[in-house]
């Protein structure tokens, strides 16, 4: 084989030096860490769908006063427990007909509701529009979740940072405090706090926020310990940078993915906590709507008026599902090494 190959000097020619410069050129645009993560997130179809579902829900929540067809707290006992109806009641499932003592009849006519007035998802036992209450309830859930999460970021991140950065005795004391708080189930801590405060929105946010920061503080502490031994941190210290500046310029930016992922993971928990507390009757005080109070009201009449339970349930499940899926997507995007 080898004998057949003839290599002559003119088989070789000098390489074109000018082309080399082009070869070295980087074809793809250089991406920052965040651009890269966003690119990966966009490839994840489930996460994108979850993102848009959330975007729509948040938009509806923000525009609640404009979108809600009725005032959520206006009672009208004559119109109590009306079934769902849209327009003139031609759409199946939204006909305005309901069963009373085994006989199906038009509840709207029976209650003397004027023509043209309808409640898309029906009314509750006090004649309040269910759809409007669900919209306001969702608004409240989302607001509580975001506020509580901010709260846990404001406590959790500095707590973890200080604990790891100061180390030694400070660290021991701070970790012991965390251990003591986490020796009581979170929800019970929240309940005890709610008992002391005046019932209301602020108390719920504080109670949920106060219990949420533990995980964040632990993660940040572990992360800070790791980053502390990095050379750029040592360099910054050697150059006489103040601790505060190192924290803001070096540590926090490098932990941003941990912070973002954990924040997203906390939101569904916060939504659940709020619903749970309102459900057992120590959350949002009446008459304001919360998904938890709607569920607890709906459950009482579930057998006869199942729609009053189904719609709030569907909304809270959709909300939590979307946040969970987006959180999973974000984790995969920011931390591609973790394969879920």
């Amino acid at each position: 084989m080898a004998d057949n190959v003839k290599i002559t000097p003119d088989s070789f020619k000098p390489a074109n030096n000018q082309d080399n410069t082009q070869k070295e050129e980087i074809q793809a645009p250089s991406l920052t860490f965040f651009q890269d993560a966003v690119r990966r997130l966009k490839q994840n179809k489930v996460a994108v769908v979850a993102f848009w579902v959330l975007a729509v829900m948040i938009l509806i929540a923000l525009l609640a006063p404009v979108i809600a067809p009725h005032n959520p707290n206006t009672q009208n006992v004559n119109y109590a427990n009306l079934p769902p109806k849209i327009g003139s009641g031609n759409i199946p499932g939204f006909t305005g007909k309901g069963e009373v003592a085994g006989v199906v009849s038009d509840r709207y006519a029976a209650s003397g509701v004027p023509k043209g007035t309808y409640y898309i998802l029906g009314t509750d036992y006090l004649g309040r529009d269910l759809l409007s209450r669900i919209i306001y309830g969702t608004r409240l859930s989302i607001f509580v979740a975001f506020a509580a999460t901010m709260f846990d970021m404001i406590i959790g991140v500095p707590y973890g940072l200080i604990s790891a950065w100061r180390g030694k005795f400070t660290d021991i004391v701070m970790q012991r405090i965390i251990e003591i708080i986490s020796s009581v189930p979170n929800l019970i801590v929240a309940i005890l706090m709610l008992l002391i405060f005046k019932p209301g929105l602020t108390s719920i946010i504080i109670a949920i926020g106060f219990t949420g920061w533990i995980t964040m503080a632990r993660l940040i502490r572990a992360e800070t310990y790791q980053l502390q031994s990095e050379e750029y941190i040592l360099a910054a210290q050697t150059l006489g940078e103040s601790s505060l500046k190192i924290a803001f310029k070096h540590l926090i930016p490098n932990m941003s993915s941990v912070i973002i992922i954990n924040t997203m993971m906390t939101i569904p928990t916060a939504i659940f906590f709020e619903a749970f507390l309102s459900y057992i009757g120590i959350g949002i005080p009446a008459p304001n709507a919360s998904l938890g109070t709607l569920l607890s009201d709906g459950q009482k009449t579930f057998r006869f008026l199942p729609y009053q339970m189904w719609y709030p349930s569907a909304v809270i499940v959709l909300l939590m599902l979307a946040f969970n899926l987006l959180a999973d997507g974000l984790r995969d995007a920011f931390d591609p090494k973790s394969s879920r």
Binding site: S183, V184, P185, N186, I196, P268, I282, S313, L325, S339
Partner: protein, 311 residues
């Protein structure tokens, strides 16, 4: 090892003391009164009641009496339930809660391990997607919603189970399933992650190259090794079961401690709230300790050190 355990046990007692102290003073800060219809009571009646419950003594004396009582296993007297001691209330009600909790834990972990393992073995196929989606859905449905849905279909419509009463095993099935949802979803997620890691390790490659069938590889090598870290989620799982029981027991009318806790919150029954908080905390601390010891025994790579503990 012994030194480590003793140290941990001492720390458990200190933690419980701190928890008891904080809850005691929190309860004293509470607005409202333990007496229903206080407005209708005369000043004399209130004075007599306060004397009976020891509420007229100085705060520190009350605290001292409470802590000394606690050391003797006395949690005080309930304000609401005919002057029953809190310990009596709890011991009467802990049985059903324990039973449902244990059943939920068994259902949750076993199914969760199975689901997670299947998802990991069938990685990146539709089976994996379905299992993962199922786990996320399980995490997204609040347990009280799931419980009501179960109750509606299986008890009310199909009449397979009793709707809400406490009478033997058949009435414990629905609440156990409702409670098992969260542990199931968490175990499945965790199990999948661990198993995916283990399946790509060298010793699994070796087992495969030795000619073991894929079933044998999974059952004998992968499953065992991925189960070790799953032990660590028992702690969070216990928390989920404790808090979950509060609503689940209410929905299914089970005379357990979760239902009692909610009831005492709604009626300002301070001694019962304190007693149950300390009980939950004690149970959780013991579970954390057992998990840490178990973890050290199962995984010899982790040695419980006398100096640090977990890290």
């Amino acid at each position: 090892m012994t030194k480590y355990i003793l140290k941990r046990i001492a720390w458990i007692f200190i933690t419980l003391w701190i928890v008891a102290t904080i809850t005691f003073f929190l309860m004293k800060l509470l607005p409202g009164t333990p007496y229903t219809n206080q407005a209708k009571l005369s000043a004399d009646q209130i004075r007599i009641m306060n004397e009976q419950y020891g509420l007229n003594k100085p705060l520190f004396t009350q605290y001292w009496v409470y802590i000394v009582g606690l050391l003797h296993g006395d949690l005080g007297t309930s304000f609401q339930f005919n002057n029953q001691p809190v310990t009596y209330l709890i011991s009467n009600r802990i049985g059903p809660s324990m039973q449902i909790g244990a059943q939920a834990m068994i259902i949750g972990t076993l199914l969760g391990i199975l689901l997670g393992a299947i998802a990991a073995v069938k990685q990146r196929t539709w089976v994996d997607s379905v299992a993962t989606f199922f786990a996320i859905v399980g995490r997204s449905i609040p347990n009280f919603v799931f419980a009501v849905i179960l109750q509606f279909f299986l008890a009310f419509k199909l009449k397979i189970f009793p709707i809400a009463l406490w009478d033997g095993f058949s009435s414990s099935i629905l609440p156990s399933i409702a409670l098992a949802m969260a542990p199931l979803a968490d175990t499945a997620r965790f199990m999948r992650t661990e198993m995916v890691d283990v399946l790509s390790s060298d010793y699994i490659e070796l087992a495969r190259s030795k000619g073991l069938s894929s079933w044998q590889t999974v059952a004998k090598h992968a499953l065992r090794n991925s189960l070790i870290p799953v032990v660590t989620i028992i702690g969070p799982m216990a928390v989920a079961l404790m808090t979950g029981s509060m609503v689940i027991e209410n929905i299914f009318s089970i005379p357990g401690i979760g239902e009692q806790f909610v009831k005492s919150i709604l009626t300002n029954d301070y001694p019962t709230i304190m007693g149950l908080t300390i009980l939950y905390s004690a149970a959780l601390l013991v579970i954390y300790l057992v998990v840490d010891i178990l973890y050290g025994i199962i995984d010899p790579r982790i040695r419980l050190s006398t100096t640090g503990g977990k890290e």
